[in-house]
């Protein structure tokens, strides 16, 4: 499989590199396919390779000792799965699992460090990506701490809504619960409540947002 330079350019880390520079670093990357449901990274393991999503979606999550799952994010094309352990040389703080068929692009830790030394703009971009990830985690803590559960479920619907064509997220009620930090039954009740208010329609295999503005108001009022 050949790695596309256009894809490397779409990775925020490397977006500042010229086509010639990207051609130079291209041989340092490998590509592999992963099946739906396959666990790509496990919490506690050492990572000496940084993985980026080239195609598909990957669930980033933590699991409690009792087996409860908390989804931290869904990684999409261009996003890294494990920059934290690769940069601090610690263990994976999270698990990563393919939500569907996924193609990954990877680079060894030492090769990445060489790129960062050679291209300071890439190092600056890396800081930016890590800062954005920190911001996203702060928002998650804020949501879990202060937003009521109906607001959290509603925010998930708005965040993952697509136009029905192309790549639209598919989520189970269990996955929504793991994102919202609640039980599946609570998500089911929240969806039913939104449906009874006429704000969404629960159809076969689809949740249709009928009143986006009203949902945005629920999220706004829940914080």
């Amino acid at each position: 499989m050949t790695i596309d330079v256009t894809f490397l350019k779409s990775i925020p880390y490397f977006s500042v590199m010229s086509p010639v520079e990207l051609e130079t670093i291209k041989p340092l990357f490998s590509e592999k396919s992963v099946q739906r449901g396959e666990v790509i990274l496990r919490e506690g393991e050492v990572s000496d390779t940084l993985f980026f999503v080239e195609a598909g979606a990957v669930k980033i999550f933590k699991t409690s000792a009792q087996g409860k799952e908390q989804i931290l994010s869904i990684a999409r094309p261009g996003e890294a799965l494990n920059d934290i352990p690769v940069f601090d040389s610690g263990t994976n703080p999270v698990n990563a699992q393919a939500l569907g068929p996924v193609i990954l692009v990877s680079i060894k830790q030492d090769k990445l460090q060489n790129i960062l030394r050679q291209y300071p703009n890439v190092a600056l971009n890396t800081n930016k990506v890590l800062a954005q990830r920190m911001r996203q985690l702060v928002t998650l803590v804020e949501d879990l701490s202060f937003r009521h559960v109906l607001g959290r479920v509603t925010k998930i619907l708005l965040t993952h809504a697509g136009d029905g064509v192309g790549n639209t997220d598919h989520l189970t009620q269990q996955e929504m619960a793991a994102m919202a930090g609640t039980a599946r039954e609570v998500v089911a009740r929240s969806l039913k409540s939104l449906e009874e208010q006429g704000l969404i329609r629960l159809e076969r295999h689809r949740i249709v947002i009928a009143d986006k503005k009203a949902l945005e108001e629920i999220v706004e009022d829940s914080g």
Binding site: G37, L157, H160, A161, G162, D163, G164, T168, D169, H170, L171, T172, Q173, Q174, E175, R184, E185, A188, R201, L202, E203, R204, H205, R206, I207, V208, I209, A210, K212
Partner: protein, 67 residues
Amino acid sequence: MVEMPEINQDKCNQCGLCVTVCTCGAIVIEEEKVTIIETEDCHWCTNCEAVCPTGALTCSFEIIVEE
């Protein structure tokens, strides 16, 4: 092709709870394996996902905004 709930055979322990709650008869156990039959009668109640003790059965939703 009719979209149907998905079964992960690696996680399934053939307990049969999903068969008992399925109101349209779409889930059967054949040769000690849970099998899902395509049918328009499945209206995505998600009861099978709710009772599955191993998380083997999943009913995913596509979330879309009405135009």
